[in-house]
Symmetry: C2
Subunit: 342 residues, 2 copies
């Protein structure tokens, strides 16, 4: 028996070689089944598009199992409960969780994988719950503070500075009294992180050399580097690190669509010379402390000291090409796909 | 005015491209000058040959300044005081310090760069003071314990297992209750670290795949990897690390003579997936604690629980080719050049 809802879904049709192609996806339509006790139907409003999604499309062991062929593509999202036979959520509640790339999610309200939790649309605009108040924000906050351990007066550099994680890394570091230098592609993004977010400087890797930019803007060297991009930029920053520097490996967006082997950091022996450290972070490890981060960043937001920018693209049907914006550096701010109205 | 001693010295004639050639050295002879108040003359007996020496021959900023062109090649060594106008050392004292690659060292007894200190030939054979009781031992001890933080029951892997640093890393890890797996080149070295030093297993990278060896001998994965070699072996170990693994970057002997760029670890994103850490170590940082390490390892030696092996080659004149043994994996144990009799 089916509910009154019609679902549309992007499923993984093939494991991509390099950049995902249209043919790597299948677009399916099906009726949403009726729910039984304890279940809910969530209508997806916003879908978070993240670099990590590219990794989930590959076969092989990682920090999370790959998306299976023919499975609905995994994604975090914000939705509205449109049917409920659960005490946990009422119709009309806004929730955040693993909606997937589809119009409707259906299942148990306490499903461990989807892990839905209520969000308050009055406290902050819903897209913020996919940005600073969501996984990118948590990644930035705990990666910077727990792994990076920045001290006031130190220099923090972050790549992908205008992206979802980068925005928050830089602003949290500023709040902690650091000198913050971003690396981003293009004048608009650089102007944004300096003028709107309060970074001390931003290096435009598309116009001029990152090495020269680091020399100019990090006169005291680099104490903490939060790396979202890998590749040549990581290698260049390694040449400028200070003694006991901390490098947070959060991602390597420059390498995710490689068809050749990943470019390892040729300058990694800078770690030896400088007794420095390179460490990976996966946000899920900090789940029990998300509340602390939301509280602190929420307070800064309320005081007008913390801003984020989202790049919201319309229509589920644009998913395949919208996802590619991430890898082409075309999004300006946290990339979100809007599937239905709030 | 000259003393009665005639010096012979290897000086850096040119900065090598790739493997050092004979023409990169000049061999000079000169009278040793007479000493004045506070000075000593040290006759070199043993010279420590270490992979790090290759790095000192390159131009450019590192953890220590490069050896200058025409300067006597830097080296640690053990010598005997043969003339003294200092209260600090008497004629006949054995000392360890920066002798350089030469027959005689002359200068102030308290010279900060040479940093001579007395060693007791009765407590341990002199070559041990260039091995476990010297810089390689200190590197191994503090790198493993301070950076690697191995816990009893964890699996520790060390490359260059039969080398000066590797021998000590493995034995200290065994003393701390770890499973220890070495990586070395050739059956003799592997047999030695297992049968003589008590490693649990050793992977012969010259006969068979390191990947298969790790699968077989590290059934519970790798918690600590002490890397002396870099290159492909580092990359392979990265595929087998556990959550929260610690990788100590001590050296990269496979890369020191590259004429092409260093091969960075292509699998470094394993750090992300496993929330793991890669950190460099430079032994000088632990100078204030060398005494603790000598005490603990000396006690194990006295109890017959700790062994080291030296590969002692005769004659100062063999220095250029003897040094190359390190990079060809030809030394079996800590490589030492004997310049004069004890």
């Amino acid at each position: 028996m089916s509910s009154k809802f019609t679902n549309q879904q992007y499923r993984l049709a093939a494991r991509p070689m390099g950049m995902p192609k249209t043919s790597d996806w299948s677009f399916t339509t099906e009726d949403v089944r009726d729910i039984t006790g304890g279940e809910i139907i969530v209508q997806t409003i916003y879908i978070s598009l993240d670099p990590a999604m590219r990794g989930w499309m590959n076969e092989g062991k990682s920090y999370i199992r790959p998306v299976a062929i023919d499975e609905v593509m995994r994604a975090g999202g914000i939705g509205k409960v449109v049917a409920s036979k659960s005490d946990k959520f009422a119709v009309g509640d806004y929730v955040s969780g693993g909606t997937g790339v589809q119009r409707y999610w259906v299942g148990a309200a306490d499903d461990k994988t989807a892990a839905f939790y209520k969000v308050n649309a009055k406290l902050a605009p819903l897209p913020k719950y996919l940005n600073a108040l969501g996984m990118p924000g948590m990644t930035a906050y705990f990666g910077l503070l727990d792994v990076g351990q920045p001290k006031a007066g130190e220099t923090v550099v972050v790549s992908g500075a205008a992206g979802a994680v980068g925005q928050t890394v830089g602003q949290v570091a500023k709040q902690k009294g650091c000198r913050v230098v971003g690396i981003a592609g293009g004048k608009d993004k650089c102007d944004f992180v300096v003028n709107e977010l309060g970074f001390d400087a931003c290096i435009d890797y598309k116009n001029g050399s990152v090495k020269d930019g680091l020399k100019e803007h990090c006169p005291n060297g680099v104490d903490v580097y939060f790396d979202n991009v890998g590749g040549d930029i990581l290698d260049t920053v390694l040449t400028r690190i200070n003694m006991k520097a901390r490098i947070i490996i959060c991602g390597a967006i420059s390498q995710y669509n490689n068809t050749t082997p990943v470019k390892g950091p040729a300058n990694y022996l800078a770690l030896l010379v400088n007794r420095a450290r390179m460490e990976g972070i996966v946000v899920f490890d900090y789940a029990s402390r998300y509340g602390d981060a939301v509280k602190e960043m929420g307070a800064w937001m309320a005081q007008g000291k913390f801003h984020t920018r989202e790049d919201i693209v319309q229509n589920l049907e644009t998913f395949p090409e919208t996802l590619l914006m991430l890898f082409e550096g075309k999004n300006f701010g946290k990339l979100i796909l809007q599937v239905s109205s709030e």
